[in-house]
Subunit: 325 residues, 2 copies
């Protein structure tokens, strides 16, 4: 990095940036980029950071994976509002000793995700770091006016659904740590190249779901977010939580209850949604969905039924879940 300098680094990554050019009036390279909002839409904004040594290491992820996953984390926040990501800016704090090839590979991953989800890279900031890489992206998306889906809309009797399996990313990380990534390639891939459920978010919004969240911090944490925001108790049936066969096999191989990965692992980016049975029926015609429980009366807590017992599931997750008082 030191030899290339700031401008050299910027030049190295500034190409092939626009994947939804019809919304852009002025791309990266000026003080700000200029874009347009599609008529009849509300705008949605979010930001996510990845820190070397906390979110990734050279052992767990290649640089292109880091770029891809930074996008997934941000795009998933849009999906979790029923919105489409459209514009992205990326700020990189980089140690002087970082090889320029790391940065260009990271941007290859960013570009691959932006191309796949039609998001424009509208520039960013590049600066030094005292220790390790710190990458922050901010994303702007859009949703038909008045139709963003918050976490807070779950109503009594709503069904709770997931748009994919959970626990795979945490199981994959465990396999990587144990040097067993080769035995569980799909799980390692789920950790390194998770996908945001953008299309599913749109389908759920159109089908009439009224609460939506993405699985960033594990099902336990996210279910509690929905319960608290909606002021409803939620009841989840452990037996219905969708686990992949490979995650089950990894659980057996490592002697770990795979449900723990699902509840507390996170970074799966499946969507958790609540809606009436009619919405579930409509959405299930278009995307795979698993019903895992339902919303109950006023409250704000999450209950997990497993093996005939129902226990409180706290936000901090399965490991700490305590008996019904």
């Amino acid at each position: 990095m030191a030899s290339a300098g700031e401008f050299g680094c910027i030049d190295a990554v500034c190409r092939d940036l626009l994947y939804r050019p019809e919304l852009v009036k002025l791309g990266a390279g000026d003080d700000g980029a200029v874009y347009v909002s599609p008529p009849g839409t509300d705008q949605v904004i979010s930001t996510d950071t990845m820190v070397e040594g906390l979110h990734f290491t050279a052992e767990t992820m290649a640089p292109a994976d880091v770029g891809w996953k930074l996008c997934t984390a941000n795009f998933s926040d849009m999906a979790a509002m029923g919105a489409e990501p459209a514009q992205l800016v990326v700020s990189a704090a980089l140690p002087e000793t970082l090889p320029l090839a790391w940065l260009t590979a990271c941007y290859d991953g960013l570009r691959a995700a932006c191309r796949r989800y039609r998001v424009n890279l509208l520039g960013g900031d590049m600066t030094g770091s005292k220790q390790g890489v710190v990458l922050t992206a901010a994303v702007v998306g859009f949703v038909p006016a008045g139709q963003a889906v918050p976490r807070s809309g779950a109503a009594e009797g709503d069904l709770l659904v997931l748009t994919g399996t959970v626990g795979d990313s945490a199981a994959g990380l465990e396999a990587i740590f144990r040097g067993r990534a080769g035995d569980f390639p799909a799980l390692a891939e789920r950790h390194r190249r998770p996908v945001p459920h953008v299309e599913a978010g749109r389908v759920l919004r159109e089908a009439g779901f009224r609460a939506l969240d993405d699985i960033t911090d594990g099902l336990a944490s996210e279910a509690n977010e929905v319960a608290r925001a909606s002021r409803r108790d939620l009841l989840i049936d452990a037996a219905r939580i969708p686990l992949s066969d490979e995650t089950r096999r990894a659980g057996e191989a490592f002697g770990i209850d795979p449900l723990r990965w699902a509840l507390t692992g996170g970074e799966d980016y499946a969507l958790l949604a609540a809606g009436p049975a009619e919405a579930v029926r409509r959405a299930a015609e278009r995307i795979p969905l698993t019903v895992i429980g339902r919303a109950g009366g006023p409250g704000g807590r999450v209950w997990l039924r497993r093996d005939g017992e129902t226990r409180l599931l706290p936000r901090i997750g399965y490991d700490h879940f305590r008996k019904t008082p």
Copy 2:
């Protein structure tokens, strides 16, 4: 930070976030915040990062200054497009050992700037850091459709103007390093609490300026950006570059040519603009302006006239400027 936890930290700063509430449909706290764009506008986006140990230290800036300046850096990018900042997200990577009081004070500075410039704090991300604080903000602003002012519009014969003095921030930093901040309080303030020229940016746009940039990296660097983007040679008269009396006095006290601070110091956030004489006349009725030079024929380089000599002024600044070939 460690004892408060992520949720405790978020709770500590999540209050008084909306200063332009008429544009917000859903504030911070969900996966994304939802806002509206004023009708008839284009959207402008930018991001800026501040790294402890590079952009600030405990010696040079109080935590509230850091929050304020992060906003200024971002809002100034909007001003430099002729746009108004409206929405902000902030990502903070924080060491475990950081006192929670540092964070709340930093957010007090953020809030003060957001209140002053009517910008909504629409949430963000909070995570750990391996060393030092890394703060990134992304800002979205708006400008009447089709009227954003890029760097690239300077035309032959345009006058070059500055909307304020330059060099004060660098002179202030020098005073702080020398333990002389008390002798040069206005300069230290210009380093710690610089202001973005948002109103001036609007006036320049309305007056018909066609190239606009903010002084982030020093006048030499920014003038070269305008020259290169506009493919014009620029000629600057050193004697007309506006220096404050206090910066001149600091130069004398420290034995440093104050023009060096102006050309290579940066972080002044004054605006550099190019426009026809008629635009200068119109704008000068509303805001203070100093004409420092003019745009010449095709090219892309900057020339500095000083004491009867005209020399090339490279992007890297005054210290390295070489004799006319």
